[in-house]
């Protein structure tokens, strides 16, 4: 009986974990699309003023955009990393094509 309830708890934990992963996955997709849209900064097209006295606005925006993108990928690595992939790769026997 104890083994059965332990098993149920384990499986429900696994399901909850998968659900959380799926939710994070959707959040990541939305963020990715948002970043894709933010790349098209039409509002900066004609702005010739300089940030910090030397960086044209359009260039400064895209340099900052690169930093935001790195932070986004940091988030993805932390919360949406495909953990099962490693074990799956090791499961198969390496062929000897090489």
């Amino acid at each position: 009986m104890a083994i059965v309830s332990e098993r149920i708890r384990f499986e429900s934990g696994l399901i909850a974990q998968r659900r959380t992963f799926r939710n994070v996955k959707y959040f990541v997709i939305i963020l990715f699309l948002l970043l894709g849209a933010l790349h098209q900064d039409l509002w900066n097209w004609d702005k010739g003023n300089l940030i910090l006295g030397f960086l044209p606005t359009g260039l400064a925006y895209h340099a900052a955009y690169s930093i935001v993108v790195a932070i986004f990928w940091g988030f993805v690595v932390l919360f949406a990393w495909p953990t099962r992939i490693e074990a799956w790769a090791e499961e198969g026997r390496e062929g000897d094509d090489a």
């Binding site: 990715f32 004609d46 690595v77 490693e86």
Partner: protein
């Protein structure tokens, strides 16, 4: 002359690194092709980043910024930060796991297995070679554009026909020879070591050049203020350029919003680069990719922002009326640089503005480092796919010893290097940036194939054929329409990459749905349950 000596010393150092990495080489074909899956996070980041940043990143970006302005950064750099990392995360890690599970060392092996088709491999092989060769040419041509102006006037008697500069044929022999030597020595492992070293060199030398050029121009603020204002925005405009001889020519500056949007398809090409696939497979584990995914956008920024700014600053410097230009000794260099010479902008800025020959030599070595860190991987990957996808596939692996397999790979590398060298001499006046964009466009058009193979169980063999054929026909149509490698856009500025990609995706979708679903047992081997 001192600058040239510094460059020669750098090349000797690289040869020394080749000898060192040969000692680490385990002597097996698996080590030669994929470094026995032993590369850690930092080396993976450096080798992947070094491979994607070629002459295109340093020489091409500076030249393009000189032509088009700051829009160059958004066109290729910031979009690459998002898309490249997405390719590493969504395609790279999955291909690594499949490669490790099934023992694949080339993309073609994966596609043959996934779609149960030998013919698909024979279709993809010439396409991969054909699209990789221009990428190789970019590197060698880039080295001409850097070393030619740097050595101008050094050997007036020996090389009178080039104005005393080291001629392209000699530069090509030296650059190809050095790269060939360490690729020969230790294959993938040597390439990873050399790339790590060279990436560190070109990042640091790029920053040094940026600092010294800005200092010479009176600081960051003064440097930007003397630049042509049309280059500080993305608004499309036409600029009248006055040449040294007094003649004028019109140059289009700025970027159309539709061009900016459709350029987003070009960085997708990394998903199909065969040399990048090989680097992915060298990773020790899936976790090794984490650093690459996060740091790649930052590394791009560190290299591209200074290069784009140098290119923009050059618009002020190369103005015949510029006070800066009049104050520096630039005998033999054309004022009002014509479009055909924009590849030399970085080199001319370094030589013209940084007086110290040791620094000029170091910066030039840094630019060559960026070029060679891509060449090695591309040479190696072509040897790998020829050996595995053609020779071993047709003749059978059991017919060859491990040493013979390595010898076959090395022979094909030698043939490719020779062809690249000849091709680069014939095409030495091509614009590095435009040539690179054509190569990326071709690979980007093939990405629906790999995305469908990895994420869509319903993708069929016929769909795969249709996708490859549709994207390649579209690509070739635009390529020949451009005059075989010129700057090209459809309508109001749409990039061919977007159309090639859509053609490949639509063909894959429609033909797969119209044909019989693939065998579930086969597909299951490539999907995580």
């Amino acid at each position: 002359m001192t600058a040239l000596v510094v460059v020669c010393l750098y090349l000797c150092l690289l040869l020394g690194l080749g000898v060192f990495s040969k000692r680490l080489f385990q002597g097996t074909s698996k080590d030669y092709f994929v470094a026995s899956h032993s590369i850690g996070p930092f080396m993976l980041l450096m080798s992947v980043f070094g491979t994607t940043m070629t002459a295109f990143a340093l020489v091409g970006s500076t030249g393009k910024a000189f032509q088009k302005g700051i829009g160059t950064y958004g066109l290729m750099a910031s979009s690459s930060g998002l898309i490249h990392a997405a390719c590493f995360f969504l395609i790279g890690i999955r291909l690594w796991s499949i490669g490790k599970r099934h023992g694949y060392v080339t993309q073609i092996q994966f596609f043959r297995g996934r779609f149960e088709s030998n013919g698909l491999g024979y279709l993809l092989f010439p396409i991969m070679v054909f699209l990789t060769v221009p990428y190789l040419l970019i590197g060698v041509i880039g080295s001409y554009k850097v070393l030619g102006p740097m050595t101008l006037g050094l050997f007036p008697e020996t090389f009178a026909s080039t104005g005393g500069a080291v001629p392209a044929w000699l530069i090509g022999i030296v650059i190809c020879g050095v790269v060939l030597s360490y690729v020969f020595a230790g294959g993938s492992r040597s390439a990873a070591w050399a790339n790590t070293f060279q990436t560190l060199v070109f990042i640091s030398m790029g920053l040094l050049a940026f600092y010294l050029i800005s200092k010479k121009l009176g600081g960051l603020v003064a440097a930007t203020e003397q630049a042509n204002p049309a280059h500080l925005v993305r608004t499309p405009s036409e600029l009248l350029i006055t040449m040294k001889d007094g003649a004028s020519s019109a140059r289009k500056v700025g970027v159309q919003p539709i061009t900016f949007l459709s350029y987003m398809f070009i960085p997708l090409s990394v998903g199909m680069f065969p040399h990048l696939f090989q680097h992915w497979l060298t990773a020790k584990s899936a976790k090794t990719f984490k650093l690459t995914v996060i740091a790649h956008p930052l590394c791009i920024m560190i290299v591209w922002v200074p290069c784009v700014l140098i290119g923009v600053w050059a618009t002020g410097v190369f103005n015949p009326d510029s006070a800066v230009w009049a104050s520096i000794k630039t005998t033999g260099i054309i004022k009002g640089l014509p479009d055909g010479s924009v590849g030399a902008v970085l080199s001319l800025m370094v030589k013209g503005l940084i007086g110290n020959p040791i620094i000029v030599g170091l910066v030039t070595a840094g630019i060559l480092a960026a070029i060679m860190s891509s060449l090695d991987s591309q040479f190696l990957c072509l040897g790998t796919i020829f050996t595995n996808d053609i020779v071993l596939h047709v003749a059978g692996k059991e017919r060859f010893s491990d040493k013979q397999i390595i010898a076959i790979a090395r022979s094909f590398v030698l043939i490719i290097v020779t062809l690249t060298y000849i091709g680069s001499l014939l095409m030495k006046n091509y614009n590095v940036f435009d040539l690179a964009v054509w190569c990326f466009t071709g690979f980007a058009g093939l990405t629906p194939l790999v995305i469908a193979a990895l994420y869509w169980r319903r993708a069929t063999r016929a769909g795969a054929y249709a996708s490859v054929i549709a994207s390649m026909i579209t690509w070739f149509y635009f390529f020949q329409d451009s005059g075989f490698g010129g700057e090209y856009a459809i309508g109001n500025g749409i990039q061919p990459a977007a159309i090639c990609w859509l053609a490949g995706a639509v063909a894959m979708l429609i033909v797969s749905l119209l044909t019989k679903a693939p065998d579930k047992a086969v597909v299951d081997q490539f999907f995580i349950r």
